[in-house]
């Protein structure tokens, strides 16, 4: 994949959560978990209804 690299600062507690999500199969690494979560967030946003005019 040739794309943009984004550096995400996390602390040790957030890293612990990422590691648990890796163990649960959300992604193969912390970076992949972050990326999959970002994609999930974007998909959730797309699924939201359009605001009323």
């Amino acid at each position: 994949m040739s794309g943009q690299l984004v550096a995400v600062e996390i602390n040790q507690q957030q890293a612990e959560l990422l590691d648990r999500l890796v163990a649960q199969g959300v992604g193969a690494s912390r970076a992949e978990v972050l990326r999959n979560g970002f994609a999930g967030f974007c998909a959730d946003q797309m699924a939201l209804p359009e605001p009323a005019e």
Binding site: Q4, V6, A7, N11, V33
Partner: protein, 303 residues
């Protein structure tokens, strides 16, 4: 079903009663339209007591049948479940009324108020006015203005015979006062008696409502976990010269994770950043999006 206590709370009074695990405390309207203030303590450790804030966050501002009353952190466990609520106008937003309130608002030198009533009732068990805590307000018909956040009290719509029943998950001291506010709308500008009763739960109620006794989270701190186990008796505070800070999880250390996004994904990230509200940098926006997604999909619902 055995009724162990059946007591009429006269206006201007309150009562402290022991409610054991598996017993049901019932507060009942005799005439209707009367607010009651409810305090509760662990009978075996009075420093564990009912907490409006935790209960409010978990069950909302107006708890009713099916909701639980929680004890304060660091114990933070269910004390009671509301198993019946015939009127459904309870409140967790207002603090208990106090003598000071009636003094500054109306000029009273003496006036019935829940702080003093609860304190006097709790004195039967050696508790002091400092031990009174904010109440679960039974039959207090409150409203919140969605725009300003301001609170108001509406007319009390409870009727004679309305009741609230709560089953205790561990041994508690329950203290109930007939709210003394007669110059506010809380009890329709008159003070009326209430019935306070304690009975054993039926077999069906125990099966439906009573939580397992051994339930505990590792982070529910109990006295054995405390670095200082004794309850202070001196009122003056002074610094411990031997104190060394020992905060859990401290120090916070940060690390950087490089996330590779496709061009499409990066365009989405740029759109979020330019939209505002997600962070100033690419990393902040991605972190915001990720943890928001986690909250929606991975956080465990509260027990």
């Amino acid at each position: 079903m055995t009724i162990r206590l059946d007591h009429v709370l006269e206006p201007g009074s309150g009562k402290a009663v022991e409610v054991r695990r598996g017993e049901v405390v019932r507060v009942e309207q005799l005439e209707g339209g009367q607010c009651a203030d409810f305090n509760a303590f662990n009978l075996h450790d009075y420093r564990e007591f009912f907490h409006c804030g935790r209960t409010r966050v978990l069950h909302g501002m107006f708890p009713t049948a099916g909701d639980m009353l929680w004890s304060a952190p660091p114990r933070e466990r269910p004390m009671f479940t509301i198993i019946a609520d015939t009127a459904g106008i309870n409140d967790l937003s207002f603090p208990r009324c106090t003598g000071v309130l009636f003094e500054y608002a109306w000029g009273y030198e003496t006036h019935t108020n829940c702080q003093d009533i609860l304190a006097e009732a709790e004195r039967e068990y050696g508790l002091t006015p400092d031990d009174v805590h904010d109440s679960f307000n039974l039959w207090m018909n409150t409203k919140i203005d969605a725009d300003t956040g301001r609170l108001s009290v509406e007319r009390n719509t409870s009727q004679a015979g309305d009741y609230v029943e709560l089953v205790a998950h561990f041994d508690c001291l329950v203290v109930v006062s007939v709210c003394g506010a007669d110059v506010f709308n809380t009890s329709n500008f008159s003070l009326k008696p209430l019935r306070l009763a304690v009975r054993t739960a039926t077999a069906d109620e125990r099966v439906e409502w009573l939580l397992p006794e051994a339930r505990r989270f590792a982070n529910q701190r109990v006295v054995e976990d405390f670095k200082i186990k004794e309850i202070r008796t001196e009122r003056e505070l002074s610094r411990d010269p031997t104190y060394v800070a020992d905060f859990p999880g401290f120090p916070i250390r940060t690390t950087s994770v490089e996330v590779e996004l496709t061009d499409d994904e990066y365009r989405q990230l740029e759109a979020l950043r330019s939209h505002g509200g997600f962070g100033a940098t690419d990393g902040e926006v991605l972190r915001h999006a990720f943890f928001t997604w986690c909250l929606d999909h991975w956080m465990q619902p509260h027990p």
